[in-house]
């Protein structure tokens, strides 16, 4: 869409400005049909149709989004599914109109939202290059000039003259990506498409993105692959439910996002726990000893669901004893989120040091404290086992959905164990 009103100026090296942007959608089909008809008739008659307020069953998919993008800058946009990232991209490219706010940009915008838009299966690779290139805004002469480069980048070999219905899905995606990256717009929007193809193609794509930036073009990059964001972007915006949660330096933003994801995951799991899905599996022998609850405590003894890296970790287990017990023996096990590692830790009370004998009926809480845990950033689950220490009888054994998260340290860490490390580089052969 070309501007009908005179366009404002963008200062200095700003290439894109998004101001107080709002977009709403409707969540029921019937209302969507009704509003669609009513709004299109009103728009033709010149009657305002309340884009600035929500009607029944409408919701804000984007709410008060604002940022600027400078020449040569690479901005990563991250957020959970449904946070509004792709909607934002569609508004910036002009596919959807905003309901409130304004977008202004200088030059040509290119969007890599889906590769291979408009491909026809019965046309050859070469014919589809021209078709898709034209759809993406390239002129025939421009495509002629870049044809060899596109073919080389897509690496589709002898299949160029074959209908693309004969291509593998990987080849099709490679061709679509190759065409799109050769459009060379002033601002490139990339939505989760760099993870296509094999490793060699992904590396080639990343190199192409870096070359693109080196030419002082601006880049907006949406991905769930945080490593790609870290490599490509200087700045990130974290989106959540259509709002901006963070806009700043990418290394700080990525750590915040990792922690946010873990907190959301733990909150979701613990909502399940609160709604009654406490156990995945439980084996209890009568009601002599009954499990009540378990979880994490902070130093003040308050229940928490998250703990920092290398901090003190306190896990409690509450239980009721109905008959006096000769000796109680506990095991608390920590599992990773995928639950595919049986135990990261399995701690039992050492009977030589912490022996719990002759326990009378009542409600109890046992707490195990790890002075400095070495769990890597992630989400963990806790299992328990309560036994009779004297006879070895099992009272209650549960695989629970109770979870907690370990926040990311100030630098990126992968894996399930954290450690303090140092690196050296030595030249062995000149």
């Amino acid at each position: 869409m070309k501007p009908i009103q005179p366009a404002p100026r963008l200062e200095n090296d700003i290439v894109l400005r998004v101001e107080n942007l709002y977009k709403k959608f409707c969540c029921t089909l019937r209302h969507s049909m009704y509003y669609g008809m009513a709004d299109s008739v009103r728009s033709v008659l010149g009657v305002p149709y309340g884009t600035d307020r929500l009607r029944k069953n409408e919701f804000w998919a984007l709410e008060d989004i604002g940022f600027e993008l400078r020449r040569g800058e690479a901005l990563g946009i991250i957020g959970a599914n449904g946070s509004g990232k792709s909607t934002l991209l569609r508004l910036i490219t002009g596919i959807f109109p905003p309901d409130k706010g304004r977008i202004a940009f200088a030059g040509r915008i290119g969007a890599l939202i889906a590769v291979g838009a408009g491909f026809h299966p019965h046309m050859t690779g070469r014919e589809n290059i021209y078709l898709n290139g034209t759809i993406l805004g390239m002129h025939r002469r421009e495509i002629d000039e870049k044809l060899e480069e596109i073919i080389a980048f897509a690496d589709i070999g002898n299949f160029l003259e074959a209908p693309i219905s004969t291509y593998s899905s990987g080849m099709r995606v490679r061709l679509g990506f190759a065409i799109a990256v050769h459009c060379e717009p002033d601002i490139l929007l990339v939505d989760e498409v760099l993870s296509v193809g094999d490793l060699a193609f992904r590396n080639k794509s990343m190199r192409k993105m870096r070359d693109f930036r080196a030419k002082a073009n601006a880049l907006i990059f949406i991905s769930h692959n945080l490593d790609q964001i870290r490599v490509l972007c200087d700045r990130v915006i974290i989106m959540d439910h259509g709002r901006t949660l963070f806009d700043g330096d990418s290394s700080e933003g990525l750590i915040r996002y990792e922690n946010l994801c873990k907190d959301m995951r733990v909150a979701a799991v613990n909502r399940d726990v609160e709604s009654g899905e406490l156990f995945r599996q439980r084996h209890a022998d009568g009601d002599r000893v009954m499990f009540v609850d378990l979880g994490l405590l902070n130093r003040q003894g308050e229940r928490v669901y998250t703990v920092g890296a290398f901090e003190e970790l306190r896990i409690f287990i509450d239980f009721i004893i109905n008959e006096e017990s000769e000796e109680i023996f506990f095991t608390l096990a920590v599992l990773n989120e995928a639950k595919n590692i049986d135990c990261i830790w399995s701690k039992s009370n050492d009977r030589n040091r912490h022996s719990f004998r002759n326990i009378r009926p009542g409600r109890y809480r046992a707490v195990v404290t790890y002075k400095e845990h070495h769990l890597g950033p992630g989400v963990y689950f806790i299992n328990y086992h309560i036994m009779n220490g004297a006879t070895g009888e099992s009272y209650d054994h549960g695989f629970t959905n109770v979870s907690f998260s370990v926040k990311s340290p100030a630098h990126f860490e992968r894996g399930i164990v954290l450690s303090q490390d140092s690196w050296d580089l030595e030249r062995l052969v000149p």
């Binding site: 869409m1 501007p3 669609g36 596919i95 078709l131």
Partner: protein, 283 residues
């Protein structure tokens, strides 16, 4: 880096006047002519690529319709009225013209759906799809027309000079069809009812229009309906000029031609303003 600044704001298109909209649309069509050509090539040539008869389908479809009308006439179930022209030739030309009108309505009503695969992925002016769809319908008509002309020449049918003006005489029908189809294309995105109804309506309208019969000799309510039906003039006059070299109600034909083009301009404005609001319903 290009210095041109583009701005997107709410209700941007509603604020534009009629002439501004038409100017923008015309400029977009010129600017996107390569895109129109590529999409035309893709859809026109490719629709017959995986077919043994290929482009032969363009002439086969009207021929089958023509054969059924000729059969019904021969069987005496049809009363086409009196005419100084061989009925088979008359019905062949007439159904070809009606087929063109119906194809144009259907094609224009597909304007937004034609880009469904990439309309929410890439930004481009969607009215270019209307041009592509109509060009495709017009190309189909031209192929049919050449075929009909060859057939009539082979059977030594006496053709009027105005027969060769058929590609121009059908333009008022194209305008009316585009206006109807364009309006329908917006509604179809929101609710599918129009798309379903359109097929039935076109068949029904064909019987209310003197396509396989002549308007003369009709009496009573049929005469009144035919007189009120704009297609009696847009289709009937064009056909009579092509077949007989002259037509009754030529003044109505001219008036309705003007109305059809005005309607098209209004529907283009409606499309331009309303489509940005309905695109998001396509997802």
């Amino acid at each position: 880096m290009h210095s041109e600044i583009t701005v997107y704001e709410p209700r941007q298109r509603s604020r534009a006047g009629m002439f501004a909209v038409l100017r923008v649309m015309a400029a977009d069509v010129v600017r996107c002519r390569e895109l129109i050509w590529q999409l035309f090539k893709r859809d026109f040539l490719m629709q017959y690529k995986k077919s043994f008869l290929g482009l032969g389908w363009i002439v086969l479809a009207p021929l089958l319709g023509f054969a059924s009308w000729v059969f019904m006439n021969a069987a005496g179930v049809l009363n086409p009225g009196t005419m100084d022209f061989p009925y088979p030739a008359f019905v062949l030309i007439s159904t070809t013209l009606w087929g063109f009108f119906a194809n144009c309505v259907t094609a224009a009503s597909r304007t937004l759906k034609a880009g469904q695969g990439f309309i929410d992925q890439v930004q481009y002016p969607h009215h270019t799809l209307l041009v592509k769809e109509l060009a495709q319908a017009y190309a189909n008509f031209l192929i049919s027309f050449v075929f009909v002309a060859l057939l009539l020449i082979c059977f030594r049918v006496d053709l009027q000079v105005l027969f060769w003006a058929a590609p121009l005489l059908v333009l008022p029908m194209l305008a009316a069809a585009a206006a109807i189809g364009l309006t329908a294309s917006i509604i179809t995105v929101v609710a599918m009812d129009i798309e379903k109804a359109l097929g039935y309506l076109l068949s029904f309208m064909m019987f209310l229009t003197p396509v396989v019969y002549t308007a003369e000799d009709r009496t009573g309510i049929v005469k009144a309906i035919l007189a009120l039906n704009p297609m009696t003039y847009l289709h009937g006059c064009a056909r009579d000029l092509i077949v007989f070299g002259s037509a009754a109600g030529a003044d109505m034909f001219l008036g309705l031609t003007l109305a059809a083009f005005l309607l098209l301009l209004l529907s283009m404005k409606w499309f331009y303003v309303a489509e940005e609001k309905v695109i998001e319903k396509m997802i």
